[in-house]
Amino acid sequence: MEQILANGVYLGSQYAMIALGLTLIFALMNVLNFAHGQMYVIGGFVTYTLYGQWGIPFVLALLMSCITLAIIGALIEKYLFAPVIKGSSREESTMLLAAGIAFLLDALILLVFGEKQRGVPKIVDGVFNWDFRVIMPYDRILICVLAILSIVAFIALMQYTKTGRALRALAQDRTAAQLMGVNVDRYSMIGFALGALLAGLVGGLLVTITGINLGMGGPTSIKAFMMVMIGGAGVISGAIWGGFILGFLEAFGLAYLSQYGDITYLLIFVSLMIFLAIRPQGLMGKPWG
């Protein structure tokens, strides 16, 4: 049981990080960013190149991943999403744009980084072993702690800084925020950049554990959508809950259901369908949006 709980916390923390950026962008712009997974992959590849290939210290490489993704996110918002949102009131326009960006990024990743699975040297060696009740490599523990600290830092930024307050105002009511003097265009760009930065951060953190490859983007986006739907679309605390719930469901399912084949995800999907039929707005979302 201790091992299952430890696995749940580890999986939950990384999933919550992945979902945070996606839900932030949705909250600010009502955009389902299908390219979120690809941004995560780029973050992983940047860290791989800087840390794994060029030997730059891991923390610096991670920082560069965040900055790179923030710049990419800002450019995508300014030159792609903002014009489409202004020119079209149909929601599917941004969805199609997001899907197009996902395909574009996939193609660029293949061109720049190649098709192979990539990995980096371990950042910490050794395995924590508590009497064979909990076995967890130290690097996983470190990444888990860093992920939880990042989530806390993100919440603090949203709660206690001027930028965070402006972003929350934007998420609550775009028109009212504009009337109160919030520069909507600027903060939309900052919000999108922040969402992309989070994708880059988690990509950079997880490349040390899972490695990275071209094909991870799509499945990552799907998982992130699941977490966001469980927690409530556009709600920060919902994304965190969604991430930890999915992490624990996986950990328990894989431990207790493995002898019956891979039915863990089958049951998770069925549960999600039933849950959404009963509570379509998710755990923390409001029925009115």
């Binding site: 696995n7 990539r118 554990i209 002898q259």
Partner: protein, 395 residues
């Protein structure tokens, strides 16, 4: 006026370039060979290594004057189609090949894609070389598919037997991704292991292909303490993570797979933890590789920046097609002539040292020669490179 002059100059330049290109291409007639496989998504590495192997070899042939078949020298053109590992796309890809008049296609890479394209291939007179294992593709009445590698039901028993005899392996556990190919390979492996008298202690654990942490997946398997952990049909993307997680959980037994892997990927993803990992390769090790194989690796690396060890096996399909056409020139437009020549075809294997031959095999597994003979080289990973564990033959 200046603008008009500029436009005229540009138009003239474009026309001249087009004419030059046409003239260059017109030097030799072009023989088109198709590729339908996965070059995007999580399994992209499988198809890309195919496509790049073919493109490298084709560029090499064209650079050295072309390929002579029946007194005519051809330039080789590779026509590629990404099926995205989707059977519907694979069918569309094979239809595209038929529309282009192509009779020889390498791929698809996976079981369901290979099965899906069969009606199109048979109706359009296309011989195709899948990297998929379902026996019905290669046994009569099917006759257009030629297995492009060693199947797991051929390599698995050889590996298990070797490990039983040399390493004292008695118990085995299997893990596979929850997809058709790995699951069918697992089932084949389990049957082979039982037939050899191994005690199968776990064969029901599977994982999603997008799994990011294998610790929870492996924990229940490793409790059964197998001597050998088989990663059935594992992709190069997942292999390092599975090995790393298993070792970090304290597993000290042997780990093997029947798929081809890349040493660089293992080194990056698992480091020294991958030492001792057993996989199936091609004519890859220094003692087997001929000078031509080494030149192929050099050219591939120059062309694409980095070599992929999977191409040690993937290099063969195009060579088989071209050598068979050389031996039977009328087969260029007549697939039945190609089929007729397969029983007796033989040519020197240019990628291996010694007197190795390119021949078609498969009588034991399929009752007809519908498999290319590549050496069953079982490798063991050690400190960043593969070492040959043993070599065996199919048929």
């Amino acid at each position: 006026m200046q603008r008009r002059t500029l436009m005229k100059a540009a138009l003239t330049a474009v026309t001249l370039t087009a004419l030059q290109t046409t003239t260059a291409l017109a030097e030799n007639p072009v023989l088109k060979i198709g590729f339908v496989g996965v070059t995007s998504g999580p399994a992209a590495a499988w198809g890309i290594s195919n496509q790049r192997s073919m493109e490298t070899r084709a560029a090499w042939i064209n650079e050295t004057g072309g390929y002579e078949i029946g007194g005519t020298t051809y330039d080789i053109e590779i026509v590629s189609f990404d099926d995205q590992k989707d059977p519907k796309r694979a069918i569309a890809g094979m239809e595209k090949m038929a529309q282009e008049g192509i009779h020889y296609v390498v791929g698809p890479n996976v079981d369901d894609g290979a099965a899906a394209v069969r009606p199109v291939a048979e109706a359009s007179d296309i011989m195709y070389f899948p990297y998929a294992f379902p026996k019905e593709l290669y046994t009569a009445p099917a006759s257009n598919a030629v297995l492009g590698m060693i199947a797991n039901y051929q390599s698995g028993p050889a590996i298990y037997k070797h490990l039983m005899e040399n390493e004292g392996v008695k118990t085995v556990a299997f893990i596979a991704a929850n997809e058709s190919d790995p699951l069918s390979q697992r089932d084949g492996g389990v049957a082979a292991a039982k037939e050899l008298g191994l005690d199968v202690v776990s064969d029901s654990v599977t994982y999603q292909v997008d799994t990011t942490d294998f610790t929870p997946v492996l924990t229940p398997i490793l409790r059964s303490r197998p001597d050998l952990l088989v990663l059935s049909g594992v992709s190069p993307a997942n292999a390092p993570q599975l090995i790393r997680s298993a070792r970090e959980l304290g597993f000290e037994g042997l780990i093997s797979t029947e798929t081809a892997q890349d040493a660089g990927v293992l080194a990056e993803g698992a480091g020294d933890l991958a030492n001792g990992f057993i996989s199936v390769g091609g004519a890859s090790t220094p003692e087997l590789a001929s000078p031509m194989m080494n030149e192929f690796v050099d050219r591939y690396t120059k062309m694409f920046g980095e070599y992929n060890d999977e191409s040690n096996t993937k290099v063969y399909a195009l060579e088989y097609i071209l050598e068979t056409l050389k031996a039977t020139p009328e087969a260029i437009d007549d697939v039945s002539a190609f089929k007729a020549s397969m029983d007796s075809f033989s040519a020197p294997n240019p990628y291996m040292n010694g007197d190795e031959q390119l021949t078609y095999v498969g009588m034991t597994s399929f009752g007809q020669k519908r498999q290319i003979a590549v050496p069953l080289v079982v490798n063991v990973y050690q400190d960043g490179a593969f070492e040959t564990m043993f070599i065996a033959r199919v048929d």
